[in-house]
């Protein structure tokens, strides 16, 4: 009987010794801040496919973005399935702060200049209780068509060259792999071609990404035209993309029925049908440069 006592006492003592570290670690883990904080990396790039994502460039980061679309796949072998034609947009984006970005670009389509401001107002958070469920980024841009007016047109001013786009970008990273974005959009055109065209075009974008590996993801984006007159004459934009990230570069391979790379083109004035093979193949290549350099180091 006494032997049994001793055994059990011994067992208890041993258990304490072994339990000590585990118990301490459990205490420590329970007290750390793992489950509170910002959710980062909702998307890999500042563009989902054609449209902007909620992501912004960090403070002092300059992003050089080359976007490129070939002709349509259905243009046949003579046009090498579209690869003989190309439209391009060169763009720069800069992070004034981690949340405020400014950008500019030049598209070959209609010789268009564009400038934009992007501000990340809310950042998705994790944490107990009331944590911010979504990231919200505000986007506003102006595009200037610089193509010369035909000689017979004399009544147009500079203001007639302008198109404005305003977007609310809501996104949530649901899991490490899956993120979704909703983008209510207003495109305002100062001048439209015919009297049946609308100056204000409302649309809603739905986009998502699915991460395939750590450095690649599959993206899809659909802009649905809410304005009926425009929806009857033009097509909703459906774009598919594949992101490959290598350090400071992101390569995006793209299939889309939109030729233009700024909102005024790919939202309200798409003519291509996926079903007819009006599909533009293209890519976005971005490179980030750190302009704040090594000036500050702890």
């Amino acid at each position: 009987m006494i032997k049994n006592y001793l055994l059990i006492v011994l067992f208890n003592l041993l258990a304490i010794a072994a339990r000590g570290q585990d118990e301490l670690l459990k205490m420590a883990e329970a007290a750390d801040s793992t489950f509170t904080g910002k959710v980062s990396g909702t998307f890999k790039a500042t563009r989902l496919v054609n449209g902007h994502s909620v992501e912004t460039n960090g403070n002092g980061s300059l992003l050089f973005l080359i976007s490129h679309r070939f002709g349509t796949l259905n243009s046949g072998a003579y046009e090498f399935f579209g690869l003989d034609q190309a439209t391009i947009r060169l763009g720069l984006e800069y992070g004034i702060t981690d949340n405020l970005n400014i950008g500019a670009g030049r598209s070959s389509l209609e010789k268009t200049y564009d400038g934009f401001l992007k501000y990340k107002l809310l950042q998705q958070q994790t944490g107990q209780g009331l944590a911010m469920p979504v990231t919200l980024t505000l986007f506003t841009s102006a595009a200037i068509r610089s193509l010369r007016w035909p000689p017979e047109e004399t009544s147009f001013d500079f203001k007639h060259r302008l198109t404005y786009t305003h977007q609310l970008l809501f996104a949530r990273k649901f899991t490490e792999r899956f993120s979704l974005q909703l983008s209510p959009t207003l495109v305002h055109r100062n001048l439209v071609e015919t009297s049946s065209d609308e100056n204000n075009v409302y649309a809603i974008g739905t986009s998502g990404r699915f991460k395939l590996t750590k450095r690649t993801s599959f993206n899809a984006e659909y802009y649905y035209l809410l304005s009926e007159a425009t929806r009857n004459n033009f097509r909703n934009a459906l774009s598919l993309g594949f992101d490959i990230e290598t350090g400071g570069h992101v390569f995006q391979l793209i299939f889309t029925n939109a030729q233009g790379m700024v909102e005024k083109f790919f939202i309200p004035q798409n003519t291509g049908y996926w079903s007819d093979g009006d599909i533009y193949f293209g890519f976005n290549i971005s490179r980030t440069f750190d302009l704040k350099g090594a000036e500050k180091s702890q």
Partner: protein
């Protein structure tokens, strides 16, 4: 019947002993930094949210490190660190579980810097590795200052680096540990 009661009592006593908090020191705002020098750019990050507990009686020492709290100077670097390298969504914490093997050398009554040996298991990215290193414990008023420096490699923890950027990232990473422990009172942190 009586014997069972006695057994239970002994067990309870043992449990109570285990739960006793005296002799324990802790911090919730410990600092761990890492630094690696590479041809293209130095990589440096700091975490000020490290939780650590040190038991002066047994020498038991644990760390819990929330990975997302590592702050980098470049936000893109921080995103890449969390997304592509340590995979913070999958492995949100790094931890250390071990012992100061010569804790009896540390005399709380005498303010001085004591050399200590630390042995244990470091877990990063879900991979465990035995660590045997040295550090110092300084008795300073009511506080205990713990410091240590050691090196690890990403490979040891199954962190793969793509060939394309291999030259941008150093082979070894120097880790600095800097804790200010205060006496632990009460039941939870």
């Amino acid at each position: 019947m009586k014997s069972i009661t006695i057994l239970l009592l002994i067990s309870l006593l043992c449990l109570a002993e285990a739960m006793q908090a005296q002799d324990r020191y802790f911090t919730k705002t410990g600092h761990i930094g890492f630094f690696s020098e590479a041809p293209l750019e130095n990589i440096e990050a700091h975490n000020q949210q490290v939780v650590s507990i040190l038991d002066l009686k047994t020498g038991e020492l644990v760390f819990s490190v929330p990975m997302k709290q590592f702050q980098f100077r470049k936000s893109l670097m921080q995103t890449h660190f969390n997304e592509n390298y340590v995979e913070s969504d999958k492995y949100p914490k790094a931890s250390f579980k071990g012992k100061v093997t010569n804790i009896q050398d540390v005399d709380l009554k005498r303010e001085a810097v004591y050399k200590v040996n630390v042995k244990g298991v470091l877990t990063i990215h879900g991979q465990h590795k035995a660590i045997d290193t040295v550090g110092t414990l300084e008795v300073k008023g009511l506080q205990l200052l713990g410091k240590s420096k050691f090196s690890v490699t990403p490979q040891e923890f199954g962190i793969t680096i793509p060939r394309l950027v291999r030259n941008n990232i150093a082979k070894t990473i120097a880790i600095t540990v800097d804790m200010i422990y205060v006496p632990f009172t009460g039941k939870s942190l």
